[in-house]
Symmetry: C3
Subunit: 208 residues, 3 copies
């Protein structure tokens, strides 16, 4: 099976879900290196960043055993993210930096959708669904920062979770009258747009 048949066989959301997992994983490895952790520390930080948000979501709604115990692709992607980061660690910071931010934003959008749709399958309300979408997208990074003994970046540095909340809100505004595929597409685009624009124009949430 070549790579094109592989890609055409699987659902697009699923594809971006696993790419997002790997890109989130890379951000875990980079923090682990910054903290001078060993290879095992890198694996764990890649793991919690890549699957931590979804794991918390699954535990809170009762989808257990959690998702990465049911499909090995997630663990494979975590290992891939560690190997690739070690092989190309100089490129990661430099040339690839912008690509990583883009893929991270796409991953964020896809994770948000997955969280929302899973919540709806459990017949939870839109508010809870948006919370779970945001959690899926952004809590991997929070657990990563806690394990690395840092103040979570999410809480004071960037528009990140806000992008998930914006996307989730749009989802429920358009969900009743648009076809489902379009709703998903627009939601992901909103998350990506808010995230990338906030990076470009240095948007910040107010502090007091």
């Amino acid at each position: 099976m070549n790579i094109i048949t592989f890609f055409s066989q699987i659902d697009q959301i699923y594809l971006w879900d696993i790419i997002g997992t790997a890109v989130f994983g890379v951000s875990g490895v980079l923090i682990a290196m910054e903290r001078r952790m060993d290879v095992f520390g890198m694996l764990i930080l890649a793991f919690v960043t890549g699957v931590g948000g979804g794991t918390l979501r699954d535990v809170l709604i009762g989808y257990i055993p959690v998702f990465w115990m049911r499909d090995h692709i997630y663990i494979v992607m975590i290992i891939v993210s560690v190997v690739i980061t070690l092989l190309f660690k100089n490129k990661m910071a430099d040339q690839w930096g912008r690509w990583l931010l883009l893929f991270d934003a796409i991953g964020l959008g896809v994770f948000t959708i997955i969280g929302i749709e899973k919540a709806l399958r459990y017949e939870l309300s839109p508010t809870i669904a948006i919370i779970l979408g945001t959690m899926t997208g952004s809590f991997g990074g929070v657990i990563r920062d806690i394990l690395a003994n840092k103040l979570p970046a999410l809480f004071h540095k960037e528009i990140y979770a806000t992008a998930c909340i914006a996307g989730g809100t749009v989802y429920f505004l358009i969900n009743s009258f648009m076809p489902h595929n379009l709703v998903i597409f627009i939601t992901i685009v909103v998350v990506i747009a808010v995230r990338l624009l906030s990076l470009k124009y240095h948007w910040e949430l107010p502090k007091f």
Copy 2:
């Protein structure tokens, strides 16, 4: 419906549960401000402080989806706690400080009872029930401190969990021969009393 009919319609425990959630939330917002977090950080810290202990309890006993996914009042109270703290942030530290401590103590007592009664509904033993009551009352603050990258205050500063343990012990001492309403009332009073007296007289647990 005016506020008095509202209050008389709902169960007293439930009323103090949601007030306790908001007061716990306020303590999360205050720590978030201290750490210069943005508005989203405040929301998260209010959220974990207000519902974190009960969430951990629910996950450990298997009451999932967890409680705040089943009743929106908790999320409403978290948002209320952020708004009120931002509006009255000067008053919070000053004039309101003593009221907050009182409400926090009442919340602590009510949270303890809720944890104990939920454990008993799952046919867990008195020991486990006291542990779960204490967890419900005090672990929101622990998660708050971890997210704020602080050594949890619970572990070295104050008689807090000890008040829950004292109340829980009294609960099981009197439960077999007193009417249930009175057991609940006395337990809550014991928690509040131990908590407030420990603040007044600077009680501390021994260190070694």
Copy 3:
């Protein structure tokens, strides 16, 4: 019932499981003392170190209420670990240091086996079983370090989780053709050997 009948009545794995819990608990109390926590902080740190890894495992696979709610011996052992550490705190660091390391290594091996076997009972794959075995053995220490506001030792200092992974891998290599008792014995010996040899010869995982 004297101690010999007690020991001969219970299963050897179970015996070492509860001894391991107490020894892990001791390491929690020692960190709590280092951080000048009070008696309650010691109890919590002993608790999370002793049962934290297994609790996380149980929550992720859905074995809830979690194990220590079903058998009080774990809570008893936690309390025992606090009392013993307080009584013999000078000896702990000195004469007992080597014994603690040995018991800790045995506990690590036993916890790994328990995690693996529980995963298999849930029909999870060998990869997931090794992950859960490693988690059972090593995440109590991670939660301990997070609560004590330290960078988890697991991620940068020692061969610890690696011993669990080595043992778990051996388990699945020999499981198909050896009797079950022997598989368990060899797995535990491998974990202990890797752990103790790594301490003796100062093995470390590579950093980058």
